[in-house]
């Protein structure tokens, strides 16, 4: 196993503040998403924001005395240039996509879930705890461990949702509080001898059982290859000792399901209504409190699954601190992805690329790994900038429409 991902200690400090504004911008941006061509424009503006961030980042690299072209080449070849790079990109993107989806669903309901980090930790902890016990073959063990993770993350987040529904307590505050509780709970659980059969040699003893529950991706490919025909190069993946694991499949499935739920079901409709207009929800006659609590629960379920993926798929037994910081990066992923499942996948992959390419950039171009965090921050700022300018456009469009001669406007007013 290669070394764990670079520590992202600064993330929790920087990002919640930095993303507060794009959050507001994206709320307005939802309207643009509603028709097909505005989906394209959303994609376009996100892509341009990334391009702007890369250009600005190039200046930062120049100022720090390195060659931006060499650095970027290393960044992308390290993350996409070979199978190992792609594997590491997917490894980094997997929890970001899952937790980013979690952020998106809460945001659609009008909630800002800053507690993803705690929900990820608890999900990982629950999955690890359950996997510690011998649960039988993987078709039994896998649903049980994932279910435990989903339950832990879901309940933890639903708590914040229910508090808001009952007393109006801001979820921003309660989820931050719940984060600290979750961290302490995890520290205690890992150290509690009564809770776990073997301690502290937990890692080695659990690994065997855990590995059987969430097969690593190459092993899964190999397994599939034995039963169904697969192209040779995919089968070849199984030979390599890559870290990519089945969590990426889980993430993609979750994105598709979430997309369906949000846009195609009455429940998703209620979630979106509640997020845009509490008054309209009351008028329609459905419960605001219940809807936000459920949306928050789903958000936590997804974050919990992100933690489970880390515990079961990536670290295979080491289940605390493994998630450090990713719950906060996931907020950025949700916002950059405009809280649309498809956008979240793309944004998760982008942040995965930045993370996995950082090492190569440092090794071959000599550019500090920390530059990647600057790049992440620049992407967020650029997105915020584009969202703000989009909002301005919208406002001036609105203004000119309300004062314009109806004949010239695309939506004529009354005759």
């Amino acid at each position: 196993m290669t070394n764990p991902p670079p520590p992202s200690r600064t993330d929790p400090d920087d990002q919640p503040g930095a993303v507060a504004d794009p959050g507001a911008g994206d709320g307005r941006g939802i309207s643009e998403r509603l028709s097909a061509n505005s989906l394209v424009s959303a994609l376009l503006s996100s892509t341009s924001a990334v391009a702007v961030a890369l250009v600005l980042g190039a200046f930062v690299i120049l100022i720090s005395g390195d060659d931006p072209i060499t650095a970027y080449r290393a960044l992308f070849s390290g993350s996409l240039g070979d199978l190992r790079g792609i594997s590491e990109t997917l490894v980094a993107a997997t929890p970001l996509i899952l937790a980013g989806l979690g952020f998106a669903v809460a945001f659609r309901a009008g909630l800002f879930n800053i507690g993803l980090e705690g929900q990820v930790v608890l999900g990982g902890l629950a999955a690890g705890l359950v996997a510690t016990y011998n649960l039988g073959p993987w078709p039994v063990a896998l649903p049980l461990t994932l279910g435990a993770a989903a339950l832990a993350g879901g309940l933890w987040a639903a708590l914040a949702g229910a508090l808001k529904a009952k007393s109006g307590a801001s979820e921003v505050i309660t989820t931050i509080m719940l984060n600290y509780l979750a961290f302490r709970l995890a520290t205690w659980a890992v150290g509690a001898e009564d809770l776990l059969p073997v301690n502290p040699g937990l890692q080695s003893t659990t690994r065997g059982r855990v590995e059987s529950t969430l097969a690593t991706f190459p092993e899964m490919i190999a397994w599939l290859d034995e039963r169904i025909w697969l192209p040779g190069w995919l089968a070849g993946v199984g030979e390599d000792n890559l870290r990519v694991h089945a969590g990426i499949i889980l993430a993609l499935i979750a994105a598709v399901i979430l997309w369906y739920v949000i846009f195609k079901t009455t429940f998703g409709y209620k979630v979106r209504t509640v997020g845009l207009s509490r008054g309209a929800a009351a008028y329609a006659g459905f419960s605001w409190g219940l809807t936000i609590t459920l949306a928050m629960a789903i958000s936590g379920v997804l974050a919990g699954l992100a933690g489970a993926g880390e515990t079961l798929g990536l670290y295979q037994g080491q289940f605390y601190n493994s998630a450090s910081g990713l719950g906060f990066t996931a907020i950025a992923v949700g916002l950059v992805g405009r809280n649309h499942p498809g956008g979240v996948i793309l944004a998760g992959l982008l942040f995965g690329i930045l993370k996995s390419g950082a090492t190569e950039m440092q090794n071959s171009a000599g550019t500090s790994k920390e530059l990647v965090q600057i790049l992440q921050a620049l992407v967020i700022l650029a997105i915020a900038g584009f969202a703000a300018s989009g909002r301005l456009n919208l406002r001036s469009r609105f203004r000119s429409r309300s004062t314009s001669p109806p004949a010239a406007s695309p939506t004529p007013a009354r005759p």
């Binding site: 009455t266 845009l276 008028y283 000119s400 314009s404 009354r414």
Partner: protein, 526 residues
Amino acid sequence: MPSAAPNPATTINEPVQYAVEMRGIVKRFPGVVANDGIDLIVERGEIHALLGENGAGKSTLMNNLFGLYHPDEGEIRVNGRPAAFAGPRAAVEAGLGMVHQHFMLIPRFTVTENVILGSEGPGTVLDRDAATAEVARLAEEYGLRVDARAKVEDLPVGMQQRVEILRALYQGGRTLILDEPTALLTPQEVDELYAILRRLRAGGGTVIFITHKLREVAAISDRVTVIRRGKTVGTRITAATTAPELAELLVGREVLLRVNRPPASPGEPILVAENLHATGSRGEAALRGASLTLRRGEILGISGVEGNGQTELVEILAGLRKPDSGRVLLRGQDVTAAGPHERRRSGLSYIPEDRHNRGLVLDFSLSENILLGNADDPPFSRFGRILPRFVRSLTQRLMKQFDVRAPAPETPARSLSGGNQQKLIIARELHREPDALLAVQPTRGLDVGAIEFVHRSLVNERDKGRGVILISFDLDEILDLSDRILVLYAGDFTGEFESGQVHRTELGLRMGGKSSDDQPTAAVTD
């Protein structure tokens, strides 16, 4: 560009006839021409109404005048001098004052603090007493009775507007622009506003009164300029014109100002409220034993000044709130405990007062708004899955049937004009073919053409044998449409009148808690 502020005292002596001259104003925005050659000539010392429908270009024109926009073509003169203001500050220095529709006041500041905001003068120490005295003197001079030391948040809306007017006067404004100033006022407050404006005129001041209501033009203005689709379509002396002529200028076609309404033939009771009691948001008794009976085939108008229990009554009837005591019967069934969704299923439709925060989700498409309140019912959804094809075709059908002007069902509701938004709500609420319809302020903020449509829809529903409750603060609307009128005052109904058997003065007195036996002068409340 005016560098020095003209002193109002000196400009008044100059032989200038016009306070404001705007000639051939053109303002283009990407894709639209908001002002397409507008002429507006305002004489000194007159009250000049600027009449136009929503979207006709009134606000753009005033923003051009005030330096918020810069016109692409045309000439602006203020007090005879060429005026191309760089911004509002320069406009204020030239003697213009703007009273916005949505007040730009700081609620926690006192009246004086709000008035002097932006013209505190040099130095770091504020002479609060001198400022208060000056504000009080101005208020006295123009009859703007308002306590200079009161906090703005404690004042009723009409008073807050006076603070805005005071601020404009304090800043040296001799020409006041009032943007839809009556939108938020009660009938009494409107009368008081008129009195203030007349006093301003008597003192040599000039007023530009922006409105889309014909009644206001007739009530207050000396002359009126009508604009339609960005063009001036005519200027008239108010006394020499008629409402139908103005309406035709305004809309571009002949308009029925009063909807044709054959006599009602009321049937059985459909919606009954018995002895409703409710507590308001500040813990006061908002409803005190109000009862009403709505019959099929009638429009029951509920008139009253805002804040006399209308909010609570509507919410109880719609199922958004439970009464402290009393009950609500819909088609003979006790629905007191039922929520909005259940009542909708039992045959009650509801056109809410607040289009933007209740009746619509502005960021949703038209289709998604048609789903609002219907999402759980077949054929809109099955097993929790929305049936998009049904919703889309229904939306298309309703758009055609109710003349909702929009490119497609996917268009966001936000981009529609107020009238089209309201038609969308009406389409959604009427397509269910309800037995009873609750319409709250259904024409608020709409222009003449849209009002005609809404009124016609309500009368049509009545003629189809449905019961309609119309709650409105607009007395004329109540009088025009209702077959029976109830007056809501202080949480109870204080009068019931048959259509055509009551005069607006009598109703106005009842709305103020008086009856015609009382002294007429007591109608002025404060």
